[in-house]
């Protein structure tokens, strides 16, 4: 596969529907009105020389290379800033233009190092290309004049360097930072000859406001901003388009390779979720694949206090099969189960659930989506009929009012955040509903119209109050409701939200938000044009998670914000394949496509294809597995790619449950925390090492393509097949494409999906079937999937996790930009320079009351357990609320979190824990004990050379 060379049209595409015809170098061209001459030329295959233009940013007109001559006009206008006009006759190559361009290039080169042969950009440098294109042969000015060649290099960023001696001050980096990323971290400092790209106020990149998204590096036409990996390795020779394995945005990347070595990951311009943009994680934090701690050989042990012993794949798989069979013989068919991962592909997830249902003969299958977005599936199915978001990400470009509730996109979904911020800069209004002042509340060039800083756990109350205002003030979209929704359900619901206890005035004291603010936000959302709601785990990870998802759906329906671009209900999925792992039948009660296991007709289709009778009884959820393990009826577990010990709530309880099981099989990249209690460790492969698909938050099925052989010898899907085979359940597939074919056969919403289709069109959003052969960007356009939209009653019920004299503060949790979830990957990259430990944010008032200063060690205690970490005193959190991230195992945030969970789906209530904070001088007892336990239980026996 050759290196993918994307065409640079120089300026962004025009969205005009009007077309204009003109002639460029004798060729007739027809383009949308507003297109630049440069772009029109490129569309006709005519490349106008350019340096400061690139199609990811608006035209700038500074480099003076792209000049053209236009018949009937004087001078030589820049083709990037001159729009086409009907009948225009343009010449891009004339004697006069040649002279001008050569002169301009001479000026550039007179102040540029002539070290092309040893330059990291050699062969990938637009300045070099343009010198060739204009026929530069000598520089009349010589090289002895004043220049910038001695400027010092800035190597402070771990991933790229800034070498001002090579800079031509085209401003592409500055504009990419502004227009694409929306961070505005770069500027041109000084003027004239002194002009220089500056990060922050003449700071180093690492100290500046830069978020390391890489947009500037990508935009740079020279070696000024350059990936360190390219400097070290050299230029790639081929590339493979694949999908990022971090968050639910699902960015497409070109993995640019040299042999089997990744040189760099470059966001793909035709990626339909990211359109050529990226964040620091996807762009740069892939080095964990080669981290020295990665386990590449299977390992076993008889007891968990023994050191691990490396064994062959056959021995390890044999042990898994014999142990699982033994446990089922002794303790019954339902004594074992499996957990699928939202980090793995659809195909892998499908195979694990198939192994459990078909091979184990029970439905004890659950997924890590249980602990994040299970309420989304439940809530949206109940109201709309489909367990998924309603829009594509492009939809945000048409939104006029955006509600962000319980989500922190600039940290957790950065590429979406950039797209949202762009829309906000264009004038869309923003309402943030979050206990914490997330960056979006106020960040350069973006300011929320309303920030409803509610007390954790009161989402339902706030949403009911918003609905109350809309219904009682006559702001409901009656035409939409009459046409699209179940009227009796609406009447019932309208009466409910209109009750006085749901008024902003009644809800104010409960939520801590002023009634006027609630009313103003409701009016804005109902009357401000296209209203879109984006939400995250701050909605789902509550005892009322499912209730709040339904309240969000109600709010969208009552304002008529469903079924067209710019509106909708948009869950921001935490992981790359949360949507997919749910779609694939990872829940104990559902087959792929969310069909209940007790449905005889559906079950029969699976039984027929798999050749096995299947259990009609739903199996155990993760929490039930733990409970069953503690009461002795659940003995064996196959965990693919989830660190349940670190990520599930109430670590003590999870640890006790794991310790009570007899065979735990962990399949992962690293010896994760769960593997302390495991008996067999099967090394996993990274997304770079396998073929498959991920389904992102917008239901988009993206291809994951293998760029290197699995370093552990087997891709994850092959390991599952091997376990099945050893247990007598053959799943014969030669390639994940065949798994997808089976998924398509058995799942109506995937009926049209195949690797062939994905290779042809790039990606599709399900439903993809005969009715929608290339997928469905916006759902419920004509009617809801379930027929009529269903308003659900969403009464606010306070969580049982209550503050009191012993635990007076509420703890809530979240992520930072540079780290990802339990950090298994990002902690093993240079991203640790930005976030080396989790800290506890505490309001100055609460800090002072406790004698806690910024940077102090504090003890964080809840009814469940205690841990210690450093405090950061900040008014980002309200008085009474504390906040931490959960990326580091040493912090053990989940030692503290409670056992409360969503009433409908058991999604844990991570976002509300009553806690106390006190000064401390060291790790908690548990942390000490746990550290000791890890030193013992994570040993690997030295391999003795024979």
């Amino acid at each position: 596969m050759p290196l993918v060379q994307e065409t640079d049209y120089g300026t962004p595409a025009s969205t005009s529907t009007e077309v204009v015809g003109l002639t460029i170098d004798g060729i007739r061209v027809t383009v949308p009105a507003g297109t630049s001459i440069m772009r029109a030329a490129m569309e006709a295959g005519i490349q106008v020389p350019k340096l400061c233009a690139t199609d990811s940013v608006e035209a700038f007109g500074s480099c003076r290379l792209c000049l053209v001559e236009i018949a009937g006009r004087t001078g030589t206008p820049a083709s990037c800033t001159t729009p086409v006009a009907a009948g225009m006759v343009v010449s891009t190559q004339t004697e006069r233009l040649k002279q001008v361009r050569k002169g301009v290039m001479e000026l550039y080169i007179s102040d540029h190092p002539l070290d092309c042969l040893t330059c990291a950009a050699n062969g990938d440098c637009e300045l070099q290309d343009m010198a060739g294109a204009v026929g530069l042969r000598d520089v009349r000015y010589g090289y002895a004049g004043e220049n910038h060649l001695a400027e010092a290099k800035d190597e402070s960023n771990p991933y790229f360097t800034f070498d001002p001696s090579k800079c031509i001050v085209c401003s592409r980096c500055v504009r990419a930072c502004e227009e694409v990323q929306g961070t505005f971290a770069l500027t041109i400092q000084g003027r004239g000859f002194d002009s220089k790209v500056s990060a922050g106020m003449a700071e180093s990149f690492i100290e500046s406001e830069c978020v390391s998204c890489g947009a500037c590096v990508q935009a740079c036409p020279t070696a000024t901003l350059m990936e360190k990996t390219v400097i070290e390795i050299g230029l790639p020779e081929h590339s493979v388009v694949t999908t990022c394995a971090y968050c639910g945005v699902g960015c497409n990347f070109k993995a640019e390779m040299r042999g089997e070595e990744v040189v760099r990951m470059v966001p793909a311009k035709d990626g339909k979720a990211n359109h050529g943009h990226s964040c620091v994680k996807g762009r740069f934090a892939w080095g964990y694949a080669n981290h020295r701690e990665r386990i590449l050989k299977p390992m076993m042990r008889e007891r968990i206090d023994q050191p691990w012993r490396e064994v062959s794949w056959d021995e390890a798989i044999g042990r898994v099969a014999s142990e699982f069979k033994r446990l089922q013989l002794t303790h019954g068919v339902r004594s074992i189960g499996g957990i699928t991962s939202s980090r793995c592909t659809n195909e892998e997830t499908y195979l694990v659930q198939k192994l459990v249902r078909g091979g184990f003969g029970n439905n004890n299958i659950d997924t890590c989506a249980r602990v994040c977005h299970s309420p989304t599936g439940y809530g949206l199915k109940a109201t709309f009929g489909t367990s998924a978001g309603t829009q594509d990400f492009d939809s945000v470009e048409h939104a006029d009012v955006v509600i962000v509730i319980g989500a922190n996109p600039t940290d957790a979904h950065p590429v979406f955040a950039s797209r949202l911020k762009k829309r906000l800069r264009q004038g869309a209004r923003l309402i943030v509903i979050d206990p914490r002042r997330i960056d979006l509340v106020r960040t350069p060039h973006v300011e929320a119209a309303h920030h409803l800083a509610l007390r954790p756990g009161t989402n339902a109350a706030i949403l009911n109050a918003l609905a109350h205002t809309i219904v009682t003030e006559g702001l409901a979209d009656e035409a939409f409701i009459r046409e699209r929704c179940d009227l009796s359900a609406f009447a019932h619901w309208a009466a409910f939200v209109s009750e006085p206890q749901n008024s902003p005035e009644a809800v104010g004291p409960v939520t801590g938000v002023s009634p006027d603010e609630i009313r103003a936000a409701a009016r804005l959302f109902a009357t401000g044009g296209n209203g879109a709601i984006y939400y995250g785990l701050g909605v789902t990870e509550h005892s009322q998670g499912s209730t709040v998802v339904m309240a969000i759906a109600n709010l969208a329906m009552v304002t008529g914000n469903i079924g067209r671009p710019g509106v909708g209900v948009n869950p921001l999925r935490g992981q790359n394949n949360v949507q997919g792992s749910c779609d694939m039948g990872s829940f104990p009660h559902e087959f792929s496509g969310y069909r209940h296991v007790s449905d005889d007709g559906v079950r029969a289709t699976f039984e027929e294809l798999w050749g096995r009778p299947l259990d009609a009884e739903p199996g155990l959820r993760i929490v039930n597995m733990f409970d069953a393990a503690l009461d002795g009826s659940f003995k064996g577990l196959y965990v693919q790619g989830e660190d349940i010990l670190q990520s599930d709530p109430n670590t003590h309880h999870v640890a006790a449950a794991l310790a009570a099981m007899e065979c735990i099989v962990v399949q992962d990249l690293f010896l994760n925390e769960t593997s302390r209690y495991a008996h067999v460790f099967l090394p996993g492969s990274t997304f770079l090492e396998k073929d498959g698909t991920f389904t992102n938050a917008e239901r988009r099925i993206n291809r994951v393509r293998r760029v290197m052989a699995p370093r552990n010898g087997m891709a994850d899907w092959e390991v599952t097949l091997a376990i099945g085979k050893a247990m007598g359940f053959e799943m014969p597939y030669a390639h994940p494409a065949e798994v997808m074919d089976e998924i398509a056969r058995l799942t109506p919403s995937f009926a049209g999906v195949s690797y062939d289709l994905l290779d042809r069109v790039g990606s599709v959003q399900w439903p993809c079937n005969a009715a929608a052969p290339v997928g469905t960007p916006v759902m419920h356009a004509e009617s809801f999937q379930r027929g009529k939209g269903n308003f659900m009653i969403t009464e606010y019920v306070a969580t049982d996790e209550k503050v009191g004299p012993r635990f007076p503060l509420l703890l809530t949790t979240g992520r930072v930009l540079t780290q990802y979830n339990v950090g298994a990957q990002t902690r093993r990259t240079a991203n640790v320079v930005w976030h080396e430990e989790d800290v506890l944010e505490i309001h100055p008032h609460d800090a002072e009351e406790r004698g806690v200063r910024d940077g102090d060690w504090v003890k964080l205690d809840s009814r469940t357990g205690g841990t210690t970490l450093r405090a950061r005193v900040t008014d980002r959190v309200a008085p009474g609320v504390v906040y931490t991230t959960f990326h580091h195992p040493v912090t053990q945030a989940n030692v503290v979190t409670s056992e409360h969970s969503d009433w409908a789906t058991n999604c844990p209530e991570y976002k509300v824990t009553a806690v106390q904070v006190a000064p401390s001088n060291g790790p908690s007892d548990w942390q000490r004990e746990y550290g000791e336990h890890g030193r013992k239980n994570l040993r690997i026996a030295a391999v003795v050379a024979e």
């Binding site: 961070t183 505005f184 971290a185 770069l186 500027t187 041109i188 400092q189 000084g190 003027r191 500056s198 990060a199 922050g200 106020m201 003449a202 700071e203 500046s208 406001e209 106020r442 960040t443 350069p444 060039h445 973006v446 300011e447």
Partner: protein
């Protein structure tokens, strides 16, 4: 000239709040208050206007008039544009620089005066022209230079 005070900087920003394009007026007032635009001021102004430090720094560094260091008690701007040059401004300027013992942009060791170049004061009819602490001065010659030196206490 006041020493740096965040409260005063915030007060300057507040005076211009609600105004369209407030950045330049604020920066002028900051320089008037503190004699220069300290880096702390860049942070305060950026925060108040919801801009980045980079953006404010870009603007401050673009205009030569915004000083990156404290000025002397007096500021003398000497015109070096074409009309004044034709009337011998360079020689006058050299005389002043030598007399005060400074280079362009520098402040005398005793902090009395900062000498800065300026490119056209719009006072070409009275070239060579200068400006002392905001007051225009025309027809520079030895006598006028003596007056200036007396004024700044040198």
């Amino acid at each position: 000239m006041a020493t740096w005070s965040e409260a005063e900087a915030r007060e300057i920003v507040r005076r211009h709040s609600g105004r369209e394009g407030p950045l330049l007026p604020i920066l002028h007032d900051v320089q008037a208050a503190f004699g220069w635009v300290p880096p702390e001021a860049v942070r305060v102004v950026a925060d108040a206007l919801n801009l980045t430090r980079a953006e404010v720094h870009g603007v401050v560094s673009f205009y030569h008039d915004f000083r990156a260091g404290p000025a002397g008690r007096h500021v003398l701007k000497l015109c070096r544009a074409e009309a004044c040059q034709s009337m011998g401004s360079e020689a006058m300027a050299q005389m002043i620089l030598d007399r005060f013992g400074v280079a362009w942009g520098d402040t005398t060791a005793d902090g009395a005066v900062t000498v800065e170049p300026i490119y056209c004061l719009g006072l070409c009819s009275c070239a060579p022209a200068a400006m002392l602490d905001g007051e225009p001065i025309g027809r520079l010659d030895r006598a006028v230079i003596d007056d200036i030196a007396r004024e700044v206490g040198r």
